[in-house]
Amino acid sequence: MSGTIQVGHDEDRFDRSRRIDLLDMDSINDARCLVVGAGALGNEVVKNLVLSGFRELTLVDMDHVVLSNLNRCIFFKEIDSRGRRMKAEVVAERGMGLDPDVSIEPRVCRIEDLPEDEWREHDIVLGCLDNVMARLHSNSHSYHSKIPYIDGGTYGMSGKVQVVLPPETPCFQCGLNRSHYRVLEKRFSCTGSDVTFFEPKMPAEITTTSVVAAIQTREAIKIACDLQERCIKNVFHYNGMTGLSEELELSIDPECPLH
C-alpha cells in the first residue's frame, strides 16, 4: 500500500498567505506604497506591509528618533535616539532587514516637499501622521493623483482609519469641522514677528497603534488585490477601552474643494 503525504511549502516565505484564497500575492508584491510618517504608526505599518509581501515602499519623515518614541516603535532603539538618527532611515534600514527582497526608499523631508510627480509613482498612500496639516496635504495630493489614501490616527486608547478611494468616497477633508481648523491655527500661531509652532504631546501606547496600523495595512492589501468593494467606505473608529469598533458613515461634503 502506498500513499502521498502533503508536505507544506515551508521554504516559501508566503506559503501561509497564499493559502488565503482572496490574496493575490503577485499583485501585493508589485504594488508600490508611499508611507507618510515614520513614527509609531509608520513603524507598525512598514513592518506589516513588509511581512504582508509589499516590496516597494517609499517612506517620508522629516524627524529624528527620541526616547519617548520607544514605547511603541518596533524598529527604534535607544542608540538611535542618542545618535539623533532620522526616523525614515532607521525604519527603512531595519524594515528591509525583515525581507531581503524589499526595497524601502527613505525620504528625509516634509511631505509638503515631496515632488508632485513622485506621488504618481505609487499605487497606495498610507498616512501615518500626527497632524491635520500634513494629512490635508496627503489627502489632497492623493486625491488629485487618483491614488487611494488610507489615513490612520490614534489618541490614547482610541483610533480611527479612513479609506479614501477617489472619487467614490468622502475624503479626509470632508470630515473636518471648525475644531480641526482651530487645532491648525493653534499649531501655526503667528505672533506678529514670526510664526510659532506648537506641537502638543499626545497620549499614545502600542496596542492602539498596532490595531490601527493593522487595519490600515489590511485595507492596503484589499486595494492591492483589487478588492476595493470590500474596503472601509467610511470611517472606522476603535475604542480600546470598550473594545468596540465600528464603521461610521460620512457623506461627501458638497463644499469640499476636492469633490
Partner: protein
C-alpha cells in the same frame, strides 16, 4: 420650535442636554458640548447613531430629531 437632544461624552460617559433650533449648526453643538465639559482644545466629531455629522450641517440638514442622543468623540490626531 426648539428640539431637545442629549450629547454623550464618549471619553467619560457623561451627558448634557441641549435645546437647539433647526438652524443651529453641528459645529455649534460640538463647541457647546466641548465647552461645557471644559475639554482640552482639540479636534472633535459628533455622531448620531451610525452617522458622523459634518460640521457645517444645520440641525435640519443633519436630520437631528427631538430626543436624539448624539456622541462627542475626540478625533484621533496622533500617529
Amino acid at each position: 420650535m426648539p428640539l431637545r437632544i442629549r450629547v454623550r461624552n464618549a471619553e467619560t460617559g457623561a451627558t448634557v442636554d441641549m435645546e437647539l433650533e433647526a438652524e443651529n449648526s453641528v459645529e455649534e453643538i460640538i463647541e457647546g458640548a466641548a465647552g461645557y465639559w471644559e475639554k482640552d482644545p482639540g479636534a472633535y466629531v459628533l455622531r448620531c447613531g451610525k452617522r458622523l455629522l459634518r460640521g457645517q450641517q444645520t440641525v435640519a440638514d443633519a436630520k437631528i430629531m427631538d430626543n436624539d442622543q448624539l456622541e462627542l468623540i475626540p478625533d484621533p490626531e496622533g500617529g
